[in-house]
C-alpha cells in the first residue's frame, strides 16, 4: 500500500516510517503543511496519516483540500488533542479514523490496514496468511478451508496480529485494542493471556502451524518461525 505520513515531530515520523516499511509498502513523508499540500496534489495514496498540529498550517485544511480535489484517499488523523470536538470535526470532514497520541505503532498499523482494506475492496475482502484465511465480510476464519469458530475477542485478536505480522506486539497494546484505552485496571495485562492461549489452541487443533510466539513477558509475535 502507498502511504503518506504527515507529522512534524521528526523522531515520531521516523518510527512510523520504519514500522510501516516492509515489502509491498511505499511510504512518503511530509513534515510541513506545504509539503503535504504539494504531495496530495501530485499523488494518490491509499492512506494518509495526518497530524493536526503542523508548524505552518492546520492539518484539517489538508482534509479540506483532499475533498476539493475529490480524492478518495483514506485519512487517519493522529492528534495530541483528546478532544471530542476535534474528533467529530475531523470525521465530519471525511477522515476515516482518529487516533490520539501517544499510541502504539501496532495500533496505528492495524487501523491503517483496516482503512486501506475498506477503501480498496469496498469492505469485502479476504486476508490470507499461509494456511489461514479470514473473510472479513462474513467474519469467517478458516484453516486449510475448514471453518474455525472464534469468539469476538479471538477474531479481533487474530486480525490485529495479521495486521502486525512479524512484529512484536505488546500486551498493553493488545489490551487497549480489545478493551479500549479507558480500561485502567492493573499494570500487568495477564487477563489477555486466556484469549491468546485459546486462539493458539484452536489453530493448532485445526491443523495450523503455531505462529504465535511469546516475547519475554512483554508481548507476542505472530510470525512464521
Amino acid at each position: 500500500m502507498k502511504i503518506l505520513i504527515v507529522e512534524d515531530e521528526l523522531p515520531l515520523l521516523e518510527s512510523i516510517l520504519s514500522y510501516f516499511s516492509e515489502v509491498g509498502n511505499i511510504c512518503e513523508t511530509a513534515s510541513t503543511y506545504s509539503s503535504a499540500y504539494e504531495k496530495i496534489n501530485l499523488y494518490d495514496y491509499d492512506c494518509i496519516l495526518l497530524d493536526l498540529g503542523l508548524p505552518d498550517g492546520e492539518g484539517l485544511n489538508v482534509l479540506k483540500e483532499l475533498k476539493k480535489l475529490k480524492k478518495n484517499d483514506g485519512v487517519l488523523i493522529i492528534s495530541a488533542r483528546h478532544s471530542l470536538d476535534d474528533k467529530l470535526a475531523g470525521l465530519d470532514l471525511g477522515a476515516d479514523d482518529y487516533l490520539v497520541k501517544p499510541f502504539h505503532l501496532s495500533e496505528l498499523k492495524a487501523r491503517v490496514s483496516a482503512i486501506v482494506r475498506r477503501k480498496k475492496f469496498d469492505g469485502s475482502n479476504v486476508i490470507t496468511f499461509n494456511e489461514i484465511t479470514v473473510d472479513l465480510a462474513n467474519m469467517e476464519t478458516s484453516v486449510n478451508g475448514n471453518l474455525l469458530t472464534l469468539t469476538k475477542k479471538e477474531y479481533d485478536l487474530l486480525i490485529y496480529f495479521l495486521s502486525n505480522k512479524g512484529k512484536v506486539v505488546t500486551k498493553s497494546a493488545i489490551a487497549e485494542h480489545l478493551w479500549g484505552d479507558d480500561i485502567d485496571i492493573s499494570d500487568d495485562f495477564d487477563f489477555i493471556y486466556t484469549h491468546i492461549k485459546n486462539l493458539r489452541k484452536k489453530f493448532i487443533e485445526a491443523g495450523a502451524n503455531d505462529y504465535l510466539q511469546s516475547v519475554y513477558g512483554i508481548g507476542y509475535k505472530f510470525a512464521t518461525v
Binding site: E9, P102, T194, Y216
Partner: protein
C-alpha cells in the same frame, strides 16, 4: 449582633444618660437662677423698708405691700441681729391657699427699738416655670429618642442595603462556575469602594484561576508528543532484533511507566475539561444498558480475579455525556476490582435512579480525603485521580455521591435523580 443594633444600643444609652444629666443640670441651674432673682427682689424690698424707716422714722404698714408679706417682731435690744434667706410657705389670701415661699429674715433698728423683719414672697410662679421647662425638656428628649429608634430601624436598614447586596453576591461567588459580581448603584462612598474592590478581586481571582487551568491543559497537551515519541521508539526497539529476557523485563517496566504517565496526563486533561465544561455531548444515556455493556467488557478481568458479580438493574435514563458516563462507570468498576479481596464479589444495584456498587474491602473505610486529587492510601497503586474524577463528573450533573463502609464492604452510591 448586627453592626446597626450595636451602634443603636450605644447611641441610645449615651443619649439617655446625657439627656438625664442635662435635665438635672438644667433643673438645678434654673432653680438656682430663680432663687437668686427672688433673693434680689427680697433685698430690694428690705432696702425700701430701711429707706422708709429712715425717712419717716416708723415702720411701713404690713398691709401696704402688694406681692409680699411683711411681718415685724420686736426683739430684745441686746439681741444679735442676723440676716438670712429661707424657704417657707406663703399664704395667698386671694386664692386662700398655702404656696411655697421664700423669706428674707433681717433686723431693722427704728429709733432704739430693734425689729426682726420677715419679708416673704411666693415661689409659685418660679416653680411653675421650672416645671414647664422640665416638661418641655423631657418631651423633647422622648421625641428625640423615638426618632432615633425610628431612623435606625427604617433608614439604617435601607442605608445598609448595598452592603448586604454585595455580601450576598460574594457568598454566591463560585470560581468553578465563573460567576460574576455585579456593580450596584450606590451613592455611599464606602459601599462604592467595597463594591469596586469586590469586583476587582473577583476578576483577578478568575483570571488567575483561568491561567492555572490553561497551564494544566497546555502542559498536559505538550507532554503528549514526547510521550508519543518515547512510545513509538520503544515499539521500534522491540522490532529491532531478538531481545533477551532481561531486556524484555526492562522494556516492560518502561512501557508500564509510560502507560501510567499517559493515563495521568489524560486524567488531568479530563478533569480540566470537566471543570471548563468543555464536554457537551449531552444525550439520554440508559445507565442500566451501559452497566451491562461495561460488565461484558470487564468479564475477562472479573474472571481473572475470581470475582463473583451480582447485578440487579432497573432501567434508568439520565441526561448526560455518554463519554463521561462511561468514564464514571469505568472508574467505579475499576476501583471495585482493584480494591477487592481475593475471591471477593462485586454487587451492582441500580434501583430508583440509585446506582450502588458494593465490594469487600481489603482495608479500612475511605475518608473524605480520598476524593481529593492525588490522595491515595499506602496500598493504592493508582494515581489517586479516580475518585476525584468520579466526584467531578457527579458534581457537573448534580448527582450525589455517597460512600459507606457497612460490614467491611466499600459501598458507593450515586443518586442520578435527586
Amino acid at each position: 449582633m448586627k453592626l446597626a443594633d450595636r451602634y443603636n444600643r450605644v447611641n441610645i444609652i449615651t443619649a439617655i444618660i446625657i439627656l438625664l444629666i442635662t435635665g438635672v443640670i438644667y433643673y438645678v441651674v434654673i432653680h438656682f437662677i430663680f432663687t437668686e432673682k427672688l433673693d434680689r427682689d427680697l433685698a430690694v424690698e428690705e432696702n425700701e423698708i430701711k429707706q422708709y424707716v429712715s425717712t419717716y422714722r416708723k415702720l411701713p404698714l404690713p398691709a401696704s405691700f402688694l406681692d409680699q408679706q411683711v411681718q415685724y417682731k420686736q426683739l430684745d435690744k441686746n439681741a444679735n441681729g442676723s440676716r438670712f434667706f429661707r424657704n417657707t410657705t406663703f399664704f395667698n389670701a386671694k386664692e386662700n391657699e398655702a404656696e411655697p415661699g421664700r423669706s428674707l429674715v433681717t433686723t431693722i433698728l427704728q429709733g432704739d427699738k430693734l425689729y426682726e423683719v420677715t419679708i416673704t414672697k411666693s415661689r409659685l410662679e418660679a416653680d411653675d416655670l421650672v416645671r414647664i421647662i422640665l416638661l418641655i425638656t423631657l418631651g423633647v428628649t422622648c421625641l428625640l429618642l423615638a426618632s432615633l429608634i425610628l431612623i435606625n430601624r427604617f433608614f439604617l436598614n435601607r442605608l445598609w442595603q448595598p452592603f448586604y447586596f454585595i455580601l450576598q453576591q460574594m457568598k454566591a461567588f463560585n470560581l468553578i462556575k465563573m460567576s460574576e459580581i455585579e456593580l450596584n448603584a450606590t451613592k455611599v462612598d464606602e459601599f462604592q469602594e467595597l463594591n469596586i474592590a469586590a469586583v476587582q478581586m473577583a476578576s483577578s481571582v478568575r483570571q488567575d484561576y483561568k491561567e492555572l487551568r490553561s497551564f494544566t491543559d497546555n502542559a498536559s497537551h505538550e507532554m503528549m508528543t514526547p510521550l508519543a515519541v518515547i512510545n513509538s521508539k520503544l515499539d521500534s526497539l522491540l522490532q529491532a532484533g531478538p531481545i533477551s529476557e532481561q531486556q524484555g523485563l526492562l522494556l516492560n517496566d518502561i512501557y508500564i511507566a509510560i502507560n501510567r504517565l499517559t493515563k495521568l496526563n489524560q486524567s488531568l486533561l479530563l478533569l480540566t475539561k470537566i471543570e471548563n465544561k468543555l464536554i457537551s455531548d449531552l444525550q439520554r444515556v440508559d445507565i442500566s444498558e451501559l452497566v451491562d455493556e461495561k460488565c461484558r467488557q470487564f468479564q475477562e478481568i472479573f474472571n481473572e480475579s475470581n470475582l463473583k458479580v451480582n447485578v440487579d438493574l432497573q432501567s434508568c435514563e439520565v441526561e448526560m455525556s455518554r463519554y463521561l458516563a462511561e468514564i464514571l462507570l469505568n472508574n467505579l468498576l475499576a476501583n471495585a476490582i482493584k480494591y477487592n479481596r481475593t475471591n471477593g464479589f462485586i454487587t451492582i444495584n441500580l434501583r430508583a435512579g440509585n446506582l450502588e456498587i458494593i465490594n469487600p474491602g481489603k482495608e479500612f473505610a475511605l475518608t473524605e480525603q480520598h476524593f481529593d486529587r492525588f490522595f491515595k492510601s499506602a496500598a493504592s497503586e493508582g494515581m489517586g485521580l479516580g475518585l476525584a474524577i468520579i466526584k467531578q463528573i457527579c458534581g457537573l450533573y448534580n448527582f450525589s455521591v455517597s460512600y459507606s463502609f457497612p460490614e467491611g464492604n466499600h459501598c458507593f452510591t450515586i443518586a442520578f435523580k435527586n
